[in-house]
């Protein structure tokens, strides 16, 4: 299977076919996301709504159905897809760059840093209106990554050191976030923020999508541009350097773009765990380790997974919406345990 896919990725026609198949899968998932919910809406209505909105097809539809699909579910599914793709890409890139199967933006504390940054802007008004929420999150994400890297370097740079440094960093930034929220936010703000911090897609509308989609596409392009460089990190950064990679530049570009994607997603939907960790591993199992194929595969699987997780979060408890972070953690934590177990077998 993986060999077939790898070969498919190599020939020109195979590549076009793979891209088309990926787009079809993505569209099908978005379609599901728009159709399934508390009131099920026929697939045909979904298609007609999109036709109406995109090129004024003029199908006679009930305004309420059309409204639910377009303004509520479809925007939400698009944001979910971008978010899943972005987190999976960040995770895949960080795992390869740090040569650490447990790396992901959530575990390394990047999400927590982004949350602190976003909350500082939203509640404390840091930046006096010059900083937008995503920009604040981006700065928080970078600060967290630098801090965690320094801590890991002090602790000896090993796999475990990076993870432990990430745990410490996450705790610190989560504490800072709670501190800021408790001290400065009104009770209502605080409730809203706590719900958002758990990872939450309700309230997401089209303007959010117009931020999430370009951020993800930009991230995908930058990551794909560096696909060969990431391959060269297979035997470590010195080996990458001897293969002609400018290690520092690659490192800055990829950490930067991962932090950017994480920050944008955190500022829209809060910090969602385990997607960045688990999805890249499942992608590796399906298509192998070559980044030219792995990265788009991880992005696709992440997008589809997130749309499905969002559907589940809406229908699992009738009349209630679960934060999507709860679903991803329920699926992701056991998978995380599985990866840990595998690592021990290998060692």
């Amino acid at each position: 299977m993986s060999r077939v896919l790898t070969l498919a990725g190599r020939t020109g026609t195979g590549r076009v076919g793979a891209v088309l198949a990926a787009l079809l899968i993505l569209i099908a998932a978005l379609w599901l996301g728009a159709a399934i919910g508390e009131t099920a809406i026929p697939f045909k209505t979904v298609a007609q709504t999109v036709a109406n909105r995109v090129w004024n097809a003029g199908y006679p539809l009930q305004p309420i159905d059309e409204g639910i699909i377009w303004s509520y579910r479809l925007s939400r599914a698009v944001v979910a897809a971008s978010c899943g793709a972005a987190l999976a890409l960040s995770g895949a890139v960080l795992q390869s760059l740090l040569r650490n199967p447990l790396a992901d933006p959530y575990i390394l504390g990047i999400s927590a840093g982004a949350s602190t940054g976003a909350v500082s802007v939203a509640i404390l008004g840091v930046g006096a209106g010059l900083l937008t929420l995503p920009l604040g999150a981006f700065i928080g994400a970078l600060v967290a990554f630098v801090l965690v890297s320094l801590l890991a370097a002090k602790a000896g740079r090993g796999t475990a050191a990076i993870i432990l440094a990430g745990v410490a960093g996450s705790q610190l930034f989560n504490a800072l976030t709670s501190f800021i929220v408790t001290k400065a936010a009104t009770a209502e703000q605080a409730r809203g923020i706590m719900f958002w911090l758990l990872g939450n897609l309700s309230g997401v509308r089209w303007p959010d999508a117009w931020l999430a989609v370009p951020a993800t596409l930009l991230g995908l392009v930058v990551c794909l541009w560096h696909a060969r460089s990431l391959d060269a990190f297979t035997f470590g950064s010195e080996s990458a350097a001897s293969l002609g990679i400018s290690v520092r530049r690659t490192y800055f570009a990829l950490v930067g773009v991962s932090a950017m994607m994480t920050a944008v997603m955190v500022s829209i939907v809060g910090s969602i765990g385990f997607v960045g960790l688990v999805i890249p591993h499942s992608a590796r199992m399906l298509v192998g380790v070559r980044h030219g194929v792995l990265l788009p595969a991880a992005a696709l699987i992440g997008a589809v997974f997130m749309i499905l997780a969002d559907i589940l979060s809406r229908i699992l408890i009738p009349g209630q919406v679960l934060p999507i972070g709860v679903i991803t953690a329920l699926v992701g934590a056991p998978a995380f345990a599985l990866i840990l177990g595998q690592r021990r077998d290998r060692a």
């Binding site: 190599r10 040569r99 199967p101 794909l224 541009w225 696909a227 060969r228 460089s229 391959d231 060269a232 297979t234 035997f235 470590g236 010195e238 080996s239 350097a241 001897s242 293969l243 002609g244 990679i245 400018s246 590796r284 192998g288 380790v289 070559r290 690592r343 290998r346």
Partner: protein
Amino acid sequence: MTLSAREISWSAGGTDILKEVSLTLETGEFLGIIGPNGSGKTSLMSLIAGIRKPRKGEVFLDGSPIAALGRRAVAQRLALVEQQAETGERITARQAVELGRTPYLGPLSPWSPQDDAIVDAALRNVDMGHLADRLWHTLSGGERQRLHIARALAQESKILLLDEPTNHLDIGHQISLLDLVRRQDRTVVAALHDLNHAAMFCDRIAVMQGGRLVALGRPQEVLTVERIRAVFGIEVEVEQEFDGSCFIRYRARRRQPRPFSAIAAVGA
């Protein structure tokens, strides 16, 4: 292709690791670097590979300072096989060798059939063609090391730098690996531990001690009883062969006779 180091020094954490080492490679030669642990062999390797920058002095590749050349340009002329490079990724033997083509590939210059041919040739060259589809973690140390060499060969550089390529290999694999390397039409620099291997395979030997280059020359000039005693602190006999090569016989220090009671205890 010329590579030379001019009075390069390097230090880490306040300790001087390399002190004013100068070295010029001769085209097509097999240069061995020997010296005790911590004498600076690995640091010298990464400095002349351009991976680390010297604190003082400069490394020149084809006349230009290596720091001024791009990483890619360097990698097309010079390949480095590090000590014990390992991976946890589930890559195949072939994929490991394909990495050698990295300096020629980019987002706008994709993989071509020619790259496939070069990788095939490299795999055959190190006698790993039949194991090309095996996963990395299922291969033995000797096989992995051959693949690292094949990766360096696929890099098509005129210069090969090998940092202790025979570490952790059994004697059969050590000899066949060095033999394999010598057969290549490349300039080779290899850090070696075994003095006899250095004597057998090298055209010239550089001796490192305490971060300095203390001797450089043909094996029979460099490997003398006095120098080996001074550098490694061991007693040896050196046999000069009639063909100009030499053989080193290590002599154990005379043991103190064991007290009788200890022998009795072992016997019981």
